[in-house]
């Protein structure tokens, strides 16, 4: 188990800046005590861990000296300065564990995983996220319980290897905006009740925003008119009246109304802002679809040249053209807005804010790469299948049947596995009953001779067994579809299998931490690999894990455990050690083996 007792030289300080009083800091399971070197000094601290609420410490590598700040429940704090950062780390670890334990004591009965509130300075949001992750993933919860609450890993270490989980989730929350619906324009249109012949306009904050986005002129008018000239309510009433005229599709009536009410004109006539924007955009359009340029080149259709009335050209009443906006135009506009997506990040409560933000974003959004456009056109002109494919930075995914893919992956894994153990398993499987009996007898006689020692099964053998069993877990566990190749694991009873899987994940977790400490660049990392972890590993594996293998369950042939080859375990280790050189490799093997046993 982890150190129960810790003594370090440290300086006690009242403020972070002061010189402090040198002395010895002693921490035990429940208490922190500080004895100054100068026996005459009155500063003597002896507090219970339970009265400590949290701690802060300086980060390694920062310019500050290694300080730890223990915050008291009742207010106030103790600050200690250590001689070096490794001392600080050790102490911090200790404090964290002790605090966790005292915290656990407080809510000991609670089954919920406790995410220590006293680790670093976590925001509540992050805490909640971690809690959520643990609740959602029982496996993770088990691991967390075992390692963090079992004082093998610190909270931060545990989560450090799962940054992706944390990041992925938080980024999803903050960065992704919900776009517009493809049919958003229909929300802004009035509903028509044919029975009562009533039109209902339904204006919510969201629809107001959509109206502003669709019609910059309305938004501009809103900024100009509200609240100086009219109230917001009047504004929307007027807007609805204009829409009503529109709905009736009576250009004449619209013109008449517009002549009476100058404010109404804004809603009825074409949107100038859109028109000017269109002129600007048309210059950036892909030249291969620029119909407008075509018109500029067409001398055939000079006014009154060519064929005027052959039915192909459409007829419009040129009068009141100004007040004719078609639904089709609106649809095109909505498509554009939907593609642009939400450009603002404002609460929709206040239409004025929304209008202002929109106006601003419109000014900003004016940058498109011409190069990208050119690239697109040049790619467009090429005929793809006549040409050798462009070098893609990726291999094209080609899965006809997902099962084929995963089976092939597994076959690959099995192949490498076979290579490493060089067919020893086959040998072990072909043991006949006599040989098995011989093994059994030999082990019985061994036990008779030596007594039932702690290590009933030799460590190497146990290791081989667990490796042999868990070798394919990574592929089989996440297998889609049925596994065709029955693994040894499937022959085990469910409880044993689950237990085994759990130990396997535990060991994987520890190994991950172990290997993530390489290359050992700092003394802290050295301590981490050298000290606690290796011991922890044995704590985790040795105490229970391997122990449970001592009594092989029914149907499990002990013979196979004799299959020689600790090499099997290397293949697991190798995962993390790809970059290590030969020497380091040998060392780590030792540490690992020594660790487990």
């Amino acid at each position: 188990m982890a150190t129960r007792h810790l003594i370090k030289r440290a300086k006690y300080k009242t403020t972070a800046k002061g010189s402090g009083i040198p002395g010895v800091l002693e921490m035990t399971k429940n208490k922190i005590a500080f004895k100054p070197n100068d026996p005459t000094s009155v500063t003597m601290i002896n507090v219970d861990f339970r009265s400590i609420k949290g701690h802060k410490n300086t980060k390694e590598g920062s310019s500050n000296p290694p300080l730890i700040n223990l915050v008291l429940d009742q207010g106030g704090s103790y600050i200690f300065e250590f001689e070096n950062f490794s001392d600080l780390q050790v102490c911090r670890e200790f404090v964290v564990n002790s605090l966790a334990k005292s915290g656990e004591g407080l809510i000991a009965t609670s089954d919920k995983p406790v995410v220590a509130s006293h680790d670093e300075q976590l925001s509540t949001a992050e805490m909640e996220l971690r809690m959520k992750l643990l609740q959602e993933n029982s496996e993770l919860q088990k691991l967390h319980k075992q390692f963090v609450l079992g004082n093998i890993l610190t909270e931060s270490e545990f989560w450090a290897t799962r940054k992706k989980l944390l990041d992925g989730d938080s980024s999803q929350k903050s960065k992704q905006r919900i776009g517009f619906k493809s049919s958003m324009i229909l929300d802004t249109l009035p509903l028509h009740d044919a029975r009562t012949n009533k039109l209902t306009f339904n204006l919510t904050q969201e629809t107001k925003y959509q109206i502003f986005a669709l019609k910059p002129a309305v938004q501009q008018a809103f900024l100009n008119l509200v609240p100086n000239k009219m109230t917001e309510k009047d504004f929307w009433t007027k807007y609805c009246r204009a829409e009503l005229l529109h709905y009736k599709r009576n250009a004449m009536a619209a013109a008449a109304e517009a002549a009476e009410d100058e404010d109404l004109v804004i809603f009825l006539k074409d949107d100038d802002i859109l028109a000017s924007e269109a002129r600007r955009k048309i210059r950036r359009v892909d030249p291969t679809l620029d119909i407008e340029a075509d018109q500029g080149d067409d001398y055939m259709h000079l006014p009154d040249h060519g064929i005027f009335r052959d039915g192909s050209k459409e007829i419009t009443e040129s009068q009141h053209e100004l007040y004719r906006r078609t639904f089709l135009q609106d649809l095109n506009r909505q498509g554009e807005v939907v593609l642009e997506g939400r450009t603002i990040d404002v609460e929709l409560d206040n239409p004025t804010n929304v209008a202002e933000a929109l106006a601003q974003s419109r000014q900003e959004s004016d940058a498109t790469a011409k190069e990208e456009r050119l690239y697109r056109t040049s790619r467009m002109t090429e005929m793809e299948d006549l040409q050798a494919p462009h070098d893609h930075p990726f291999t094209p995914l080609c899965i006809k049947d997902p099962r084929d893919y995963f089976d092939s992956q597994q076959a690959n894994a099995l192949k490498t596995y076979d290579d490493t153990r060089a067919g020893t398993e086959q040998l072990s499987c072909s043991l006949n009953s006599e040989e098995a009996y011989g093994f059994l007898r030999r082990s019985i006689s061994e036990i008779e001779a030596m007594g039932l020692s702690a290590h009933m099964v030799r460590p190497e053998v146990a290791l081989t067994v667990i490796n042999g069993l868990t070798q394919n877990i990574s592929s089989t566990k996440y297998q889609l579809g049925k596994n065709v190749h029955e693994s040894v694991l499937d022959g085990l009873p469910n409880t044993t299998k689950e237990e085994l899987l759990h130990y396997w994940t535990s060991i994987q977790e520890l190994l991950r931490h172990f290997w993530s400490s390489y290359p050992i660049t700092t003394s802290y990392l050295y301590a981490k690999t050298e000290g606690s972890h290796v011991k922890n590993l044995s704590a985790a594996g040795g105490n229970k894990g391997i122990g449970s293998l001592r009594a092989p369950p029914a149907g499990f042939s002990p013979c196979s455990s004799y299959a020689s080859g600790s090499r099997c375990c290397f293949s697991t280790l190798r995962v993390g050690s790809a970059k290590e050189n030969g020497k380091g490799w040998r060392e780590t093997k030792w540490i690992c083996l020594g660790g487990v046993y």
């Binding site: 493809s182 049919s183 229909l186 269109a278 002129r279 955009k281 048309i282 359009v285 892909d286 030249p287 291969t288 679809l289 620029d290 119909i291 407008e292 340029a293 075509d294 018109q295 500029g296 080149d297 067409d298 001398y299 055939m300 259709h301 000079l302 006014p303 009154d304 040249h305 060519g306 064929i307 005027f308 009335r309 052959d310 039915g311 192909s312 459409e314 007829i315 009443e317 078609t326 639904f327 089709l328 135009q329 649809l331 095109n332 498509g335 554009e336 939907v338 593609l339 056109t377 040049s378 467009m380 002109t381 090429e382 005929m383 793809e384 299948d385 006549l386 040409q387 050798a388 006809k400």
Partner: protein
């Protein structure tokens, strides 16, 4: 890759080639050897353009003693851009393999509106005001005035270009409009005049049809092209319509009012000149007596749209005496306008031939045929004399003179139709007098006569024997190519019934039926839910599209459609349509998926590609027949029947089906691409309609796909899409090669070509 076609070494910029492309090049090469015209139909999506460009450039390279110029005509500016981009690819390939020997000059030419870089001129909104704005700064008299008075504004780009003189040339390379503008800006030279100058020297010129077909434009731009040129009309299935439009004029009330204003203005100008500078008018008179309608060598900037009649028909003789004097001419025009105003005041539709019209004009207004014929040139001369720069103001009188010249020149192939109102809106009086050309061969005849090889090519030229008749020429090669597909990557279907098994059609009596509208809507909703990325829908007309979208909105179908994809729509406003297209592509690129509603015969159907993920499905709602009550169409049909013995019904079906085929053909770009085509109208299942579709569509139209209902089509679509998502062997199976490598092509030149192909 590099290979031999007979005695020509072809440099082709890709590693592989389709057998169709090889065959296409072979036919084209034979036509070039024979120095004759040819007609080639090749399915869309088999790389026509690049095959054509590489053959012709390679042809020139292997026969250096016989430099052939390529004049490549596209229908639209964006197609011009695409062609130049492909040419650029080819040019890069050829120069890396051959070095400087392969260097060519290729220029795209467009109007001032698309080429001008002077911000003051460009500020003008439409094409005519840009032209006038340019003239205001660059006309020879303006520049002469500026030389005397530095306060007169001129165009710095043009001045710089003039100063550079003969050293103002484009270095070899491929210039798109964008490149021309950039080069002009860099050098400070006017790109428009530079390009027009360089057209004479360029090896490849890419411009729009009308620069060759419309005598008004061709007269100034294409006058000096040498006979040893290969003229290519790409996407030429509509070429007959372009030809007849080039020679048609219509006169409305607004035109006549405008013309009156123009005449008043001219009168004032004449009075002013009489008082200040009478010598100038006298000089003009003397010149006209000598018989020079045009003033010899005009300064480049003074040229204006030239005579609307074809070059062969323009008289090279003295202007008749009665219009030599400026005020007399204005007076004649006044009488003409007055006569036309009288004719517009009619209650009934009138139709007569040019001869009858001219004789009635002669009796009522005393203007004879020869005077009419000279109207345009006389006007042109007068405007130069009066130093009128704002030509955009004088378009109306110009239209009247165009009309007069055409009606005075041609006695057959035209008719004059006066309609008091539009059939579809009888309550709104809008009289119009139209001079409409019926004979497409008139406008294109000078092109066939002038150039040694004219290539007419498109994805839809079926039936291929009709075009030589319509255009009145004799091709040395006329061939339609099939498409060899590696897999069935196109899936045409004919949908005749909706999900309720009731027939769907846009026939006149059915199109507004609620059930049909709903069935069309359901079809689109269902398809939108299973087809990835882009869907394109074509409707028969704008008004039909407008109506159907509004009714879909009312019955909630539009909402269902929009739940799956964004909706973009072609409108009559080109700017808006362009932006909608741009957004449509964005939506397809980003994976959201979109539907584009478009109109057959519209601008989008004419030249925008919906290849790859931009179009996985095209739905053609209805059969895009022309408006059959149109008087002009009836007159044209009558003419076709009498002169070419083409039956009305046949021509109408042919025209509708080529439009439909054109619409659906836009989905395929290459053999690696795939797309579905749904013809949603019960009339497509009839053999007489269907058989007019091009062969490459017909060959993939299975019998079981001829009479589908919505749910069956849905099932087929699902199966098809699943099949297309599988990986496949690009080179095709062992039985027939659909993609040839260098070796295959070399093997083929041993003579077993046809064996390989089929």
């Amino acid at each position: 890759m590099k290979f031999q076609i007979e005695d020509v070494t072809v440099y082709f910029p890709y590693d592989h080639i389709y057998p169709e492309q090889y065959a296409y090049m072979l036919e084209l090469k034979r036509a070039l050897d024979a120095k004759g015209h040819c007609l080639l139909e090749m399915p869309t999506g088999t790389g026509k353009t690049i095959a054509l460009l590489s053959l012709i450039t390679s042809y020139v390279l292997s026969k250096p003693h016989n430099p052939v110029k390529l004049i490549y005509c596209t229908r639209t500016v964006h197609e011009m851009e695409k062609t130049l981009a492909e040419l650029n690819l080819l040019h890069n390939y050829q120069t890396t393999h051959l070095g400087d020997r392969a260097k060519i000059l290729a220029v795209g030419l467009s109007s001032r509106k698309n080429l001008c870089v002077n911000p003051r001129v460009l500020a003008a909104e439409n094409r005519d005001s840009v032209d006038a704005g340019c003239r205001r700064l660059t006309a020879s008299w303006v520049r002469a005035a500026a030389a005397a008075n530095p306060n007169v504004p001129t165009c710095e780009f043009f001045e710089e270009y003039e100063r550079a003189g003969s050293s103002a040339v484009l270095p070899p390379g491929v210039y798109t409009l964008q490149d021309l503008r950039a080069y002009g800006k860099k050098k400070g030279w006017c790109p428009y005049f530079l390009a027009r100058h360089m057209v004479q020297f360029a090896n490849v010129v890419v411009y729009s049809y009308q620069y060759l077909l419309d005598p008004k434009v061709a007269g100034i731009i294409s006058k000096e092209m040498q006979r040893e040129s290969v003229v290519v009309f790409d996407e030429a299935h509509n070429i007959d319509n372009v030809c007849i439009e080039a020679l048609s004029v219509s006169v409305r009330r607004q035109t006549l009012e405008g013309a009156r204003r123009n005449l008043n203005k001219m009168r004032q100008e004449i009075e002013k000149f009489k008082a200040t500078d009478a010598g100038r008018l006298r000089a003009e008179y003397n010149r006209l007596v000598e018989g020079l309608a045009q003033r010899g060598n005009l300064a480049l900037t003074d040229t204006w749209l030239s005579n609307p009649a074809l070059p062969d028909d323009i008289l090279k003789e003295a202007v008749p005496g009665n219009i030599r004097r400026a005020e007399h001419f204005v007076h004649v025009l006044r009488r003409l306008v007055q006569y036309l105003e009288g004719r517009l005041e009619t209650e009934n539709v009138e139709k007569e031939g040019p001869v009858a019209f001219v004789s009635s004009l002669n009796t009522h207004a005393g203007i004879d045929q020869k005077t009419l014929k000279f109207c345009y040139d006389r006007l042109h001369s007068l405007m130069l004399t009066l130093e009128i720069t704002d030509t955009d103001e004088f378009l109306h009188i110009q239209t009247i003179c165009d009309f007069a010249t055409l009606v005075g020149t041609y006695t057959r192939g035209f008719s004059i139709i006066i309609e008091p109102f539009d059939e579809r809106m009888p309550h709104i009086p809008d009289p119009v007098l139209q001079l409409s050309c019926h004979d497409a061969s008139l406008a294109i005849k000078p092109v066939f006569d002038r150039f040694q090889s004219v290539v007419i090519t498109s994805g839809t030229l079926s039936p291929i024997d009709l075009y030589p008749r319509l255009l009145n020429f004799h091709p040395v090669v006329s061939r339609s190519f099939k498409m060899s597909l590696t897999r069935d990557c196109i899936c045409p279907m004919v949908l005749t019934r909706g999900s309720d098994q009731l027939p769907v059609s846009t026939k006149f009596d059915m199109r507004s039926d609620k059930g049909v509208v709903r069935n069309y809507g359901r079809l689109l909703v269902e398809m939108a839910s299973i087809v990835p990325d882009g869907i394109v829908c074509f409707f028969v007309s704008y008004s039909y599209m407008d109506g159907i979208v509004n009714s879909w909105n009312e019955n909630g179908l539009l909402k269902d459609i929009m739940q799956h994809k964004l909706v973009f729509i072609e409108t009559q406003d080109v700017v808006e349509t362009t932006l909608a297209l741009d957004n449509y592509r964005k939506a397809c690129d980003c994976g959201r998926g979109a539907i584009f509603f478009s109109v057959a015969r519209g601008k989008v159907a004419e030249g925008i590609d919906f290849d790859r993920h931009y179009g996985r499905l095209v739905i053609m709602f209805g059969v895009p027949f022309q408006y059959t009550l149109s008087k002009i169409l009836l007159a044209r049909l009558e003419y076709l029947r009498d002169t070419f013995q083409i039956k009305e019904g046949d021509f109408l079906t042919f025209d509708a089906l080529r439009q439909a085929a054109q619409c659906v053909g836009r989905v395929i770009r290459s053999k690696a691409d795939y797309g579905m085509m749904i013809f949603a109208d019960k009339r497509y299942s009839r053999h007489d309609k269907r058989s007019k579709l091009p062969g490459w569509i017909l060959s993939h139209l299975r019998d079981s796909h001829l009479n589908l209902s919505t749910d069956m089509a849905l099932h087929i679509a699902r199966e098809f899409l699943r099949k297309m998502a599988q990986p496949y062997d690009k080179a095709g199976g062992s039985s027939s090669k659909t993609l040839l490598s260098q070796e295959d092509v070399e093997k083929m030149s041993d003579g077993n070509f046809n064996e390989m192909l089929y």
